[in-house]
Structures are given as C-alpha cells and as structure tokens.
C-alpha cells in the first residue's frame, strides 16, 4: 500500500487523484491505528478478562473440531491426528454399510419421536392443571416435589429403575405377582426398553419442564379471564379459549427446540439402562460411538459417526432457530 501510493508525480490526473485519495485514506488509517492503540491502552482490562475464556474454547471445543479430520483418515495413535494418512470418505462407506450403525440411527430417531409424542405434551398438561389449583400451599408443595427428579443424577435414576423393575426383587413385579401374572424380565427384553426409557424421562422431566409453561400462563392478560367470567364461561372453556391460545407461541417454540434436538437422546441414561440383550431397540448413535470408539478403539470410524451426527444436529438446530425466530415476535422472549 505505502509503496504504491507515495509517488504521485507524472501520472494522469485521474490516477493522481485516486492516489491522493488513497494517501488521504491511508492517513485516516494511521489515525485509526492510533485510536486502536489508545483503545487497547484504555480498555486492555476487558481483553484480559475475555482471554481465558477464549483460550478455553480454543483448547477444549475448537481443537477437537480440528481433530474431527480423523473421520477422513486412517488414524493411528502413534502418528497422531495430523500425520495419519488420508483415506477420503472410506469410513462413511463402512458406516452406512454397517447394520448396527443404521439401527442406531433408526433407534435414535424412534426414541426421539416417542419422547416428542409422549414427553412433550406432559409438562404442558401439568402446567395447565397447576393453573387450575386454587389452594396455594397444595400447589406449592406439589410443585416442589415434581421438580425434584430433575436434580437427581442419571446414575441414581437408573439405579432406581433397575431396582424397581428387577424380576424377583422389584416392586413392579411384586404388583404383577399380586395380579396373578408371571414376573416380566423388563430390562432384558427389547420390547420393554423404549416404554421404560420414555416413561422414566417423563417422570424425571415433566415437572421441571412445566415451569416454562407456567411462566407463560402467568403472563396472560387477566382482563381476558375477567370478561370471560362476565360472559359466563366456565374454567374448562377458559382453559381452551384463553389459556391455551395465549401460550401457543411458547408451545411452538419449545416444540421447535425439541425437534432441533432430535439427535440428542440422553445417551448417558441409555448406557446405564441398556444391555446387549436390548441393543436391538436401545442402541442410539452416541452409545454406538461410545462402544466403537472408546471401548473398541476404532477412533476414526467412531469419529466419522460423530461427524455425521453433528452435521445432522447442526442442520436441525439451525432450521429450528430460523423457525423460532419467525415465531419469536409473538413469544415470551
């Protein structure tokens, strides 16, 4: 820049004019540089505050993204990420020819679908019911109790499920025995995994999930209810005609977020509850990656599966974000 524009003599006028203009802009650039220097001298503290966080993100979240290239490499521990030879999309061919991986993708989508179908309405219904309860202490106590399981670790949740569904010792089979039936081996039979998993999810999260909808209900204009009372509407009608339409934007946004997270089955709980006998219905993408990669050491293939999962999730989340922005004008947030 500097060398090109310093000599303006002997040039056609318009070129000279451009050169002068460039020089003037350059002068401003100098001023900008000085201002930038002043800025950092004055504001260095906020950059010092930001730096650790930026470094942390680079080291723990962005460096693994660089490591994702092993999905296209024949990764060897000894050669490391950078020096392992490229193999193109070979792992993806292997992946999509692998019945277990395909099964894991199908299971992920199926379990997410059941979670959506049964797990999504549950907190809404709960919030609508809480809204109908007049007795403040009763409401408060019930809320306190139903929020609790959200704070319990998945290991404990799984421990409770394993104990309760045990064929000989478990309470569920005790009840089944009282009804005169033979004990059911719930946790070793594939057909029982999804109902137990989805049911456990509802038991754990429906209460906590209702908080968002209760907040939306609290934001409904009270005069709507007052005029409905004048018109002689009953509580049931008010729920359908006022409450539900008013919280519809929140419901839509929460639904979109849920759809964006379809690839995110809580695999920690799956690992804790499944066993080889139930892989057929229980094995999801992340548990498959866990076994292939972390247990069997096929890092490159497992990383390819992870990349596939991440790309699908990214597209879903981005679509969901765009959709939710479209609705957000009428929403809570």
């Amino acid at each position: 820049m500097v060398d090109e524009n310093t000599n303006t003599a002997g040039q056609p006028p318009e070129k000279a004019a451009i050169a002068v203009h460039e020089a003037a802009r350059h002068h401003i650039d100098d001023g900008r540089l000085i201002r930038l220097f002043d800025h950092f001298k004055r504001e260095w503290q906020i950059y010092v505050m930001l730096l650790p966080t930026i470094i942390w993100f680079l080291v723990f979240l962005y460096k693994p993204m660089y490591g994702l290239q092993i999905a296209f490499k024949d990764y060897s521990i000894f050669r490391g990420v950078a020096n392992s030879p490229w193999v193109g999309i070979e792992h993806f061919h292997t992946l999509f020819a692998n019945d277990q991986f395909i099964r894991a993708v199908k299971n992920t989508v199926t379990i997410s679908f059941y979670n959506l179908l049964f797990g999504f309405p549950a907190p809404i219904i709960l919030a609508l019911m809480f809204n109908e309860i007049l007795h403040a202490t009763y409401k408060r106590t019930a809320q306190t109790i139903v929020y609790l399981p959200h704070f319990i670790s998945s290991v404990i949740i799984a421990g409770i499920v394993i104990t309760a569904f045990s064929p000989t010792a478990g309470i569920i089979n005790t009840f089944i025995g009282w009804l005169g039936f033979e004990p059911v081996y719930f946790l070793t039979q594939p057909q029982w995994f999804r109902p137990i998993f989805v049911g456990t999810g509802i038991w754990q999260e429906a209460g906590f999930g209702s908080i968002v909808f209760l907040a939306a209900i609290a934001g409904v204009n009270p005069s709507l209810y007052e005029s409905a009372v004048v018109d002689g509407a009953n509580r049931w009608q008010m729920m359908w005609k006022i409450t539900i339409p008013s919280i519809l934007p929140t419901i839509l946004i929460m639904l979109i977020i849920r759809i964006g997270n379809v690839m995110e089955v809580s695999f920690e709980l799956v690992i804790l509850l499944y066993q080889p006998a139930t892989y057929e219905t229980a094995d999801v993408v992340n548990t498959w990656i866990y076994r292939q990669g972390l247990q069997s050491g096929q890092y490159d293939l497992a990383a390819a599966a992870g990349l596939f999962n991440a790309v699908v999730a990214f597209v879903l989340v981005m679509t969901a974000n765009t959709l939710s922005r479209r609705f957000s004008r009428t929403s809570l947030w």
């Binding site: 092993i70 109908e132 007049l134 929020y147 421990g159 104990t163 010792a169 309470i171 049931w236």
Partner: protein
C-alpha cells in the same frame, strides 16, 4: 384471582378432579424415592423376595453398615465434593469476567466473539475428538483435567452476558468517577447487581458437577479419583454378578438391592438438604435461560 365461592358446580368438580390428578402425579413422583429408602432399611432376604412395598421389612442397618465401612465410598464422596466445589469455582472464574467483557459495547470484535462462543452450542465435535484431545493434553485420569475441561459452556456465558447487558450504564458512572477500573466495576457494581443470575449459574454448575458421570467414567481410571456417581455405578453393576458378594451377603443381612438402595439414599441426601434453598433460584433461572445468541 379466581374465587372458590364464585365457582359453579361444574367448575368445582373440574377443580377437584384436577387436584386429584396432580396429587396422583405428585405421589407417583415421590413413591420411587420412598420405595428405595424402604429397601435400603430392609433385610436382604425381604428385598430379594420383593416383599418391600412402602415401609422397611425386617428393618436393619446392615446395608448402611456395608457401605459406610467401605473406604472407597468415603473416597468417592470426598472426590465428589472436590469436583463440585472446585469445578464450580473454576466455572465462575471463567464465566463472570468473560461474560462481563462480552457485555461491554466497546469490546472490539464483539460480534465475532459472541458467534465464536455461540457456535459451540450448535456444533460439537463429539465424543471421540474430545477424548483424544484430552489424551493429547495429558488430562486423562486427572482430577484437575475434569475440573478444567468442563468449566465453561456457551449457555451459561450467554445467560450472564444478557443479564449484564440489561444493567443500565448509569449504575457504573459513580464508580467510574471515582476512577474505578473494569475489574473494580465488575466486582463492586455488576456482581452485586447480578446476584440472582450468578446464583442461578452457580446452581447449574453445582448440579451438573454433583451429577456428572459419563466423562468421569471415561476419563478416570484410578479408584482414588472417581466421584460418587461412578462408584455407585460400579457397585450396581458389580454387586449383582459378584459370586463372592453373594456368599458374603447370605451370611449378613443385606443384598445387592439393599446396598444399591443405601448408596442411592446417601447420595441423594445432600441434594435434598440443599434443594429447598435453591428452589427460588431455579425457577428464575430457567426463565433467564430463554437466551438469545
């Protein structure tokens, strides 16, 4: 507010039905905990035979005796406290200054940094690259590694940044007049004004650290480093198919079920103690959680 006396007969009926349904759901939520507590205090034989329903059968403390005499239980309990306290402090040390910097309008490249952080909410390299990275960093089987590697997440930073941004600039003017720098402004103006948000984030950190299991299981090998959740998992999966244990338990009054239940009770108790205090914060927190990137 609706008044009971103004309710029609239909409305009263509706309210009663709803109250009963809520009551049933509440009992269903609570029952598994009561059941587990009852199993933990029952004799091994009663538990194995499936006799426990609501109250302990042949009440005994044998299962607790078995757990509390196991030094590994105390080691992992101590470790969980270390991970929870150390991890939460580490998180706050990153998140509070980071969120403050991102909330400053004069920060150059603010849009870029915000996107840089938010992007990690949408795209994640996944389990394998994260694990290999931890190995390259020599953080396998390291307590410090666990504390550091899970200290920050985009969600908490954005949540606190939004809260800081909502505080009017006029609040800091007096401090600026007195010549306060950014560290002092953050410490003396922003942090006191942001107590609810910081409390919420602290709560999120504590809960996720206390319950953290998967990465602790994957990254830690040494028994003297594992947290309570991993110990609990080992116990549950080992007890049932451990022949030696089966022989020991026939002589004693406990079983795999009662021991598992006893560990569950021991690890829930701290949560139950803290729970009433945190409740008012998480209701606020989840609403703060409606974050925009």
């Amino acid at each position: 507010m609706m008044n009971w006396n103004l309710y029609s007969r239909g409305d009263r009926f509706f309210a009663i039905v709803v109250s009963v349904l809520i009551g049933m759901f509440t009992v269903a939520t609570l029952y598994p905990f009561i059941y587990i507590a009852a199993v933990s205090f029952s004799s091994g034989f009663a538990a194995q035979a499936g006799k426990v329903v609501l109250t302990p059968i042949d009440a005994t403390l044998e299962a607790y005796g078995y757990i509390l005499w196991d030094p590994q239980f105390w080691v992992s309990y101590r470790n969980t406290f270390i991970y929870t306290i150390g991890g939460t402090l580490m998180s706050l040390a990153f998140i509070i200054p980071g969120a403050y910097a991102l909330s400053r309008p004069q920060l150059k490249g603010r849009r870029f940094f915000n996107l840089f952080i938010a992007f990690t909410m949408w795209f994640n390299a996944g389990l394998i690259p994260f694990f290999l990275n931890m190995r390259d960093l020599n953080l396998l089987d390291s307590m410090f590694g666990i504390i550091l590697a899970f200290a920050v997440n985009a969600f908490n930073i954005i949540l606190l940044r939004n809260f800081f941004e909502a505080i009017p600039q006029s609040f800091e003017e007096a401090a600026r007049m007195d010549g306060a720098n950014d560290f002092q402004v953050l410490w003396k103006v922003y942090m006191p004004l942001s107590k609810p948000a910081i409390a919420t984030i602290t709560l999120f950190c504590i809960v996720s650290r206390w319950n953290g299991f998967f990465w602790a299981m994957v990254l830690l090998q040494s028994e003297d480093k594992i947290p309570l959740q991993v110990f609990l998992r080992h116990t549950i999966s080992n007890l049932s198919d451990d022949d030696e244990f089966a022989i020991v338990q026939t002589a004693a009054g406990f079983s795999a079920e009662t021991v598992t239940a006893a560990i569950i009770v021991c690890s829930i108790i701290p949560v139950l103690i803290v729970y009433p205090f945190i409740q008012k914060y998480f209701e606020k927190g989840i609403l703060l959680g409606g974050v925009k990137e």
